[in-house]
Symmetry: D2
Subunit: 164 residues, 4 copies
């Protein structure tokens, strides 16, 4: 795995909401990513079907990996998602492919399929590519990020900032 | 609270993914709902901003409450979401309003704002309204659902079914 | 060409806004359609690039053909479109493929490409499938539709109706 | 009317596809625009309801005016549109309001209503704001643009360029 991919992977493995959800990043390469989620009871909604938020979060992680795969930091600005079929449980896969890339924008299509290969959801995402690389953002966090000690005040300007 | 709203609330309180995320349904009335999420470390992504999936799930719960508020079961078919601002943490609110309703479709706009009232995300959702009421779907689950004992085979046709 | 396809084609050839725009329906089969538009000065916006509405209308005609290709009348309820590249003029092609179909909904992806095959726009559309077939709707128009004599009052209930 | 608004208006009045469609820009101010379209036979589709492309083009012109209203050139990157009701003809109005603005992005909500004020379509658009102002883009077109004499070769690099 190239150094760039290692960093993308490290940052996504630090995604606490994806971890809470139980999502695994399986593969990432330039403009591509694959993520998986094994559905359990905790992913169900009040009608016992997989909650839309769980499907979205799975697709979003694959999208984040694909659009950040060039090393330049990218943040989601728009997503449209179609829920095509209620799922039978089991493991869901989300495969993201970048379909357009410019200096400022990345557009990805993510297909979410169930264990039988049936299309469960279709997700189109657009990300804004910042000036900073992922490495620069990482470095600016300093030892706080590396040790896990949080210093919200220092990070505040960045977290408050406009996305683009 | 009217009987119909009680049932909507009961079903949404049985939404395990929303519970895992920490979302609270604050209010629900015909064509309207308000939900809240207090942001903690577990909602952050690898770059320490609130994960898009957490924002989506919050908005989606408010949407589900609003579009099911008439008592007829409704499932999301399409959502578009724009992420407008990275958030400062604190508590996020999602307010869903139904802007169009026909016998088969409900369309809602959900505004997600931060504690200062700043618009963080804008979510437009379309739901398909099934023939069954929420009460009928509840009843068809029988004692299994009431006791928590799961019998996946019995529920299979429903869970596998097309959404619409 | 099968009878069903002939009817789809006849109805789309009666689409006056698509005609005004200069769009040609090239192919239609079950769940598939291809349409083309030769860009001329009249399709440009105030900055001399192809107007988004012209690109949308092209994609929408292909979508309408694909989702009506089964003979059951279908109307668009939601579309998301990403404009990926300003175009060099020439001829644009829109290719629609149905990616999901249930008794009530059809979901199509439409790719708009330029003469060099470059992806110019990506369009995802969801249509609601009515109870009526295209043939029934045609027949209900009676001789008015066949002769071109318009009787708006008689058609009013239908034109005012909810889409779904 | 301020100088900036005059330029926005001049550029939009040079929008040939909007003119072909018959759209009028009624008002434009910072972050706001109103456009109108009187529906005639040429706006109907093969089923005699207003073609989605005509509704989209109307909303898109209001969007373009609102997101360009600050004088910085902005181009649409993503739009989602929900078609909520088939229309009774008459005059449609599209009112665009900017709901978020950063140095690089503008997000607008456009409501399309019929003559009775009924919501016909809801349009959410995101535009990328270029470095150039509208005045600079105008000036770079030189006398060609002012006289209407087209020199496609000189403009080619710009028209071929990535949108962002």
């Amino acid at each position: 795995m190239k150094g760039g991919m290692k960093l993308v992977r490290a940052i996504l493995e630090n995604d606490r909401f994806a971890s809470l959800t139980g999502i695994k990043l399986v593969k990432v390469s330039e403009g591509y990513a694959l993520a998986r989620l094994r559905i359990t009871d905790k992913h169900l909604n009040g009608l016992d079907i997989v909650q839309g938020g769980a499907v979205f979060t799975l697709a979003d992680l694959a999208f984040a990996a694909a659009c950040n795969s060039h090393g330049q930091a990218a943040v989601a600005i728009n997503v449209s998602i179609s829920f095509l079929d209620a799922t039978a449980g089991g493991t869901l896969s989300a495969e993201a492919r970048e379909v357009a890339l410019s200096s400022k924008l990345s557009t990805c299509v993510v297909r979410v399929t169930d264990r039988r290969g049936k299309l469960v959801a279709l997700f189109n995402g657009t990300a804004y590519r910042k000036k900073e690389t992922l490495a620069e953002i990482r470095a600016s966090r300093g030892s706080a990020a590396r040790t896990g000690a949080r210093k919200p005040k220092r990070r505040a300007p960045e977290r408050r900032g406009q996305r683009a």
